[in-house]
């Protein structure tokens, strides 16, 4: 396999598709999602501006695939939690299927943006911007000072609104 070809996504696809799919299948135990996630992996490569010159294409693919896998598991986890939360809502006030999907997309995005922030920071942010609690109330609820609340809210807000 000439290296010029193997460094394009197309080249990677042809050379390592089967290997990648079985790599994913071993970790997922499900052929259907393995094929989907292999596609996701290549999609991610296509969206990247350029594929670096590769010495170890399989190691590179595995690194990208791990990230895809991670997202996949996180999504499943969120979906489970989401469905559980929804199950507690009385049927007559539950959101429509379409609303459910929209809400879930918002949650996924929020989760991704707030990922890595300490739990208290996240919590303070959700209490402020989703629940609309006042800063004094948040301080009492979390048992922290008002100055800390403001610091937490600023930190999370930079992430959530500006991805900074």
């Amino acid at each position: 396999m000439p290296s010029a070809l193997s460094s394009t996504v197309e080249g990677l696809y042809h050379a390592h598709h089967n290997w990648l799919t079985s790599w994913l299948r071993r970790r997922l135990g499900c052929p259907q999602s393995a094929a989907d996630l292999a596609q996701d992996t290549y999609l991610r490569l296509l969206q990247a501006r350029e594929t670096p010159q590769l010495i170890e294409p399989r190691a590179f693919l595995a690194t990208v695939a791990k990230r895809v896998l991670c997202n996949h598991f996180r999504r499943q986890e969120l979906e489970r939690a989401y469905l559980q939360a929804l199950a507690q809502i009385p049927e007559e006030v539950a959101p429509s299927e379409e609303q459910k999907a929209i809400i879930f997309e918002t949650l996924l995005e929020l989760d991704r943006l707030l990922d890595g922030l300490p739990p208290l920071v996240k919590r303070a942010f959700l209490l402020a911007q989703v629940d609309g609690l006042g800063q004094g109330e948040i301080a009492r609820e979390l048992g922290i000072s008002l100055a800390t609340v403001k610091r937490y809210l600023s930190k999370a807000a930079m992430r959530c609104y500006f991805a900074l």
Partner: protein, 308 residues
């Protein structure tokens, strides 16, 4: 959810967001915020961006967010079920019942009955939308474009044209440049919100991102409340709204009397609600707040504290 702004503007916008939500945010800080907004269009864009994201966040039911993002709500909050939020805050003012005069606008060109919205394209290409129980006239000639709001509320996308556009409310006339506006007639004043473009009255401009009471001149100019125009999309968006005010808003779209007892008037409510199904919104209230909805007749509904 994120858009690209310079880190500096982002930091300032976040600073103002956190300050404006602070418990000690007063008149002076409000003015400073307005100055900051006026200083730079980038500031306005960043501010509007935050409001948009917040609107989206508040449209998500809180217990679902907490449960899903695995930051469990407190037991107290868990009890306060589902789609709406409650925070009891005391400050009692009476329930403002709207008065409505059946006479004005009977002969108006455009009218939208209670509970309905209408959208019209005017001859100059402007788009006029009328909210529930609203009436307006349009008179265009070679010299000028004249609109008149008799009652209710309108949203207007003004097309650019050589002729000025004058909008008349009960208090007088304002001039609207091409842009997007929301104007609502209250008792004694109208509330003018500028989403795009600018409005002017008595020689004074009201700019994009601002709203003001109009009484012949601008009174109490404030930053635009982005929820003002939600009715255009058939939504009622509340953010920490008193229950009494929420019901008064909802009542604009329903026949009959809708109110609440004093004990529950100050409960707070947030979220986005589809206007076309006010019955469902009332059902949701019972789930979300410690209240029950009492129906004396089909057209007389009162929200009271839940018993037991």
């Amino acid at each position: 959810m994120n858009a690209s702004f310079s880190a500096q503007v982002a930091e300032q916008a976040v600073h103002w967001l956190i300050e404006s939500q602070g418990d000690d945010f007063g008149q002076v800080q409000q003015l400073a915020l307005e100055h900051w907004l006026q200083a730079n269009q980038e500031h306005q864009r960043a501010w509007a961006h935050i409001q948009q994201v917040n609107q989206r966040l508040r449209g998500v039911s809180s217990p679902v967010v907490h449960a899903t993002l695995q930051a469990p709500p407190s037991p107290a909050r868990r009890r306060a079920l589902k789609a709406l939020l409650l925070v009891g805050v005391a400050s009692a003012t009476g329930l403002g019942l709207q008065q409505h005069d059946p006479l004005p606008g009977l002969m108006a060109d455009y009218r939208s009955p209670l509970g309905q919205r209408r959208r019209m394209q005017l001859v100059d290409g402007s788009v006029l939308q009328l909210n529930t129980r609203s009436a307006a006239d349009a008179r265009f000639d070679s010299q000028q474009r004249q609109l008149r709001l008799f009652e209710g509320e309108l949203a207007l996308q003004v097309a650019s044209d050589a002729r000025p556009l004058l909008l008349r409310t009960a208090e007088g006339a304002l001039r609207l440049d091409s842009g997007r506006f929301n104007v609502r007639q209250f008792d004694g004043y109208s509330l003018v919100s500028v989403f795009q473009g600018a409005a002017s009255a008595a020689g004074q401009p009201l700019r994009a991102g601002q709203q003001a009471r109009f009484t012949g001149a601008w009174r109490s100019v404030t930053p635009l409340d982005p929820n003002v125009g939600a009715w255009v999309d058939g939504m009622l968006v509340a953010s920490q709204m008193r229950l009494a005010d929420f019901l008064a808003e909802l009542g604009r779209y329903r026949h009959g009397q809708l109110g609440c007892s004093e004990q529950v008037a100050d409960l707070r409510i947030s979220g986005s609600y589809p206007l076309d199904d006010s019955e469902r919104i009332l059902q949701m209230l019972e789930v979300a707040l410690p209240v029950r909805v009492r129906r004396f007749t089909r057209y007389w509904v009162t929200v009271e504290p839940k018993i037991g």
